[in-house]
C-alpha cells in the first residue's frame, strides 16, 4: 500500500484497525490579532507556514477536520456505527516550550461529517515549531461489542490526520547550512587546543559548535582563505577544506546521533540540521525521525558501530564529492 495513501493502515503498530491518515485536516485561514496576515495557500503543499511578523499576540486558526464514513466503518464495530462513541480533537505540541495540549472538536459521540475547527493560541506559549494534529479516539468502552476485532479501551487511538506545522519564529534553516562558525586561532597558546593540530572542533558549548583552524599553519590558512574559483590554489582549497569538513562532519553526526531522544529528535538546532542532511541517506529511510532513532541505536551498540562508521564514510564521500574534488585538483591544479 502506498505511503501516501490517505487510508494507510498501521496494523504493525496497533492490534486493531487504525487509520493513520484517515482524517482529513485542512487549515483555511490564520488570523493574527484578528487580521488575516498569513497566506496559508502558499503553504498548503508542505502543510506548514511561517509567520510573516513577530508583531502578534493571539493566533486564530480556522480549518476543518473531515471524518469520512469509511473510517467510521473501519474502526468501529457495526453495532456502534450509528452513534460512534469517540472524541475528535486537535493536539497541539511544541517541543521547545514543553507544551502538549488539545483543542476539543467533538466529544462523547462522533458522526461522519466535516467539522469546523477554530482554535486560538497565544504567542507567549510557543517558540519554534508547533505541530497541530487531529486524532479520533474511542469513547467509553462497550464490553458487549468487544469481540477483540476493534479497539475497546477508552482513549484508544482510532484515526489521525497528516499534521500542519506552524513556525512561530520563521522558517528554520532548511537548506543544509549548519551555520557553524569557523575561527582561526593560535593553537600553541591555548590550553584547550591540540598543539600540533590543523583544526579542532570545539564542542565546549554543546549548543554551538565551533571549528577552530590553527593559524600557525600559515600556508594552509592562506590556501583556505583564498577567494579564487579557478586554478591550482582554488582546487587545493577545496580539497583541504573537504579534509577538514570530513573530520568535522563525522564528529557532528556522532554527536547528533547520540543526542537523539525516543521521538527521533535531538536537542539542539544544529543537530537537527545535521540529521536533516544525513540521517535519511545513512539508512535509505524517508522518515527522518525513524532514521535518527536507528542511528542512535546503532551508536549505542558496540557491535554495530563499525557498520555505522562505514555508512557515515559512504555518505560523507558522496556529500563532499571527494572524488570530483580530487580529480579537479589533479587536472586543474597539478596538471596530471
Amino acid at each position: 500500500m502506498s505511503e501516501r495513501s490517505p487510508q494507510r493502515i498501521s496494523r504493525s503498530a496497533l492490534p486493531y484497525p487504525y487509520r493513520a491518515d484517515g482524517l482529513v485536516f485542512d487549515v483555511q485561514a490564520v488570523l493574527l490579532d484578528g487580521e488575516e496576515r498569513v497566506d496559508v495557500n502558499v503553504s498548503r503543499a508542505n502543510r506548514r507556514w511561517a509567520f510573516p511578523t513577530d508583531d502578534w499576540e493571539r493566533c486564530r486558526i480556522v480549518g476543518t477536520v473531515e471524518l469520512p464514513s469509511s473510517v467510521v466503518d473501519a474502526v468501529y464495530p457495526e453495532s456502534e456505527r450509528d452513534s460512534p462513541p469517540g472524541s475528535l480533537y486537535v493536539t497541539i505540541r511544541c517541543r521547545e516550550t514543553i507544551y502538549r495540549d488539545r483543542w476539543m472538536v467533538q466529544s462523547e459521540t462522533v458522526e461522519p461529517k466535516t467539522y469546523e475547527v477554530e482554535l486560538e493560541l497565544q504567542r507567549d506559549g510557543f517558540r519554534g515549531e508547533v505541530e497541530l494534529k487531529p486524532y479520533l479516539t474511542r469513547g467509553a468502552a462497550d464490553q458487549s461489542t468487544d469481540d477483540g476485532s476493534y479497539a475497546s479501551s477508552t482513549h484508544a487511538r482510532l484515526a489521525s490526520a497528516r499534521p500542519w506545522t506552524m513556525l512561530v519564529d520563521g522558517e528554520a534553516d532548511a537548506d543544509g547550512e549548519t551555520g557553524l562558525d569557523v575561527r582561526v586561532e593560535s593553537f600553541s597558546t591555548s590550553p584547550r587546543l591540540p598543539k600540533d593540530g590543523l583544526y579542532y572542533l570545539d564542542m565546549g558549548d554543546p549548543s554551538d559548535p565551533l571549528i577552530v583552524v590553527n593559524g600557525e599553519h600559515n600556508r594552509v590558512v592562506g590556501v583556505l582563505q583564498s577567494e579564487g574559483s579557478v586554478g591550482a590554489e582554488a582546487r587545493m582549497r577545496d580539497v583541504v577544506f573537504d579534509q577538514i569538513q570530513y573530520g568535522v562532519w563525522s564528529q557532528l553526526i556522532l554527536h547528533a546521533g547520540v543526542a537523539v531522544d525516543s521521538t527521533g529528535r535531538p536537542q539542539y538546532d544544529w543537530q537537527s540540521t545535521v540529521l536533516r542532511i544525513f540521517a535519511r541517506d545513512l539508512y535509505g529511510i524517508d522518515d527522518i525521525h525513524a532514521a535518527s532513532r536507528r542511528l542512535k541505536r546503532d551508536l549505542k551498540d558496540p557491535t554495530t558501530v563499525p557498520e555505522v562508521m562505514q555508512r557515515i564514510d559512504r555518505v560523507l564521500q558522496r556529500y563532499l564529492r571527494q572524488r570530483e574534488q580530487l580529480i579537479n585538483l589533479m587536472e586543474e591544479g597539478l596538471r596530471i
Binding site: L14, E96, I98, D101, R102, D124, H155, R157, G204, S207
Partner: protein
C-alpha cells in the same frame, strides 16, 4: 547590593522592583571553561560584554530571587538534593516569564553563569566537566540539565496558582522527580500533576514500574485525550496492580 536598576561591574543586575531579563551570548558561553566549572575562577570583570538584553523586554525579580536562594543556602547543607524543593517555588515566582521566554536557553545560561553560579555550585557537586557544564549551559527541551531551568520547569508543570505544595513534594524525592520528568508524557501538564500526586508516597521501584507501564499504555491510547482525573485513576490502577503483584510474588 544597591537598589535601583544599576549594572554592577560583573555584569549582574541590581534591582528592587524588577530588572530587565538578560541572555548570555555564544561568546559568553565559551568562557565557561574547566576552571570555571570547578569553581576555581569567576568572571567578575569579563562577562559584562557577553550579555545581551532579552528581546522580550520582560522584567524579573533578580534581587528577590538572590535573597530567597541565599536563605535556602543558609538553611541546607551543600549538595543536599532537597534544596530543589525549597528553591523551585522561589525560582518560578521570581522569574515570572512565559514559556516562550523560558524556552530560550540564553536566559538560563545567563542566570546560571552570571547571576547565580554560587548557588549552582552549592547545589551540585563537581563530578565531571560534562555533568557540571550541563548545570550551567544545559537548557532547551531537556528538563534535567540547567540547574535553574529544571527547577522553573518542574514548578511550571506542577504548581496550581500560588500553591507549590506538589512541586515541593515531588522535589523532596529526587529519584521520583527524575523518574517522572524524564518521561515525555510528563510534558502534558495533567499527566505531570497526576503522576506527582499519585506517586509521591510510593517507593522508587513502584514509581519506576508505573512510569514504564504508562509509556506502554500511551502507545495505544492518546495522552492528550485524557484529563487529570482520568490519568489519576489510570495511575492508581497501575499502582494497585503492581502492589498486588508484589504481595503475590
Amino acid at each position: 547590593m544597591s537598589s535601583g536598576d544599576v549594572d554592577t561591574d560583573d555584569g549582574r543586575l541590581a534591582d528592587n522592583t524588577g530588572t530587565p531579563l538578560r541572555t548570555l551570548t555564544s561568546e559568553g558561553r565559551r568562557l565557561v571553561d574547566p576552571a570555571f566549572l570547578r569553581g576555581e575562577r569567576t568572571y567578575a570583570d569579563e562577562v559584562g560584554q557577553y550579555v545581551d538584553e532579552h528581546t522580550s523586554d520582560v522584567h524579573v525579580e533578580l534581587q528577590g530571587l538572590r535573597a530567597d536562594l541565599q536563605a535556602v543556602v543558609d538553611s541546607y547543607d551543600q549538595y543536599d538534593s532537597t534544596i530543589d524543593a525549597a528553591a523551585a517555588p522561589a525560582v518560578h515566582r521570581r522569574l515570572d516569564i512565559s514559556r516562550r521566554i523560558a524556552a530560550d536557553p540564553g536566559v538560563w545560561h545567563y542566570l546560571a553563569v552570571v547571576e547565580f553560579p554560587e548557588f549552582v555550585r552549592y547545589r551540585w557537586e563537581f563530578n565531571t566537566e560534562t555533568a557540571m557544564r550541563e548545570k550551567f549551559l544545559g537548557a532547551g527541551t531537556d528538563i534535567y540539565s540547567n540547574a535553574l531551568h529544571r527547577l522553573w520547569w518542574i514548578a511550571e508543570l506542577t504548581h496550581d496558582g500560588d500553591d507549590y505544595s506538589l512541586t515541593e513534594e515531588v522535589l523532596q524525592k529526587q529519584t521520583l522527580a527524575n523518574k517522572i520528568f524524564d518521561r515525555w508524557f510528563a510534558r502534558y501538564r495533567p499527566a505531570a500533576v497526576a503522576c506527582c500526586a499519585k506517586l509521591v508516597d510510593e517507593s522508587t521501584e513502584v514509581a519506576e514500574e508505573v512510569t514504564l507501564r504508562l509509556n506502554r499504555v500511551f502507545s495505544t491510547r492518546q495522552l492528550e485525550g485524557m484529563d487529570e482525573a482520568e490519568l489519576g485513576r489510570l495511575i492508581q490502577d497501575l499502582v494497585t496492580d503492581i502492589q498486588n503483584q508484589g504481595t503475590t510474588d
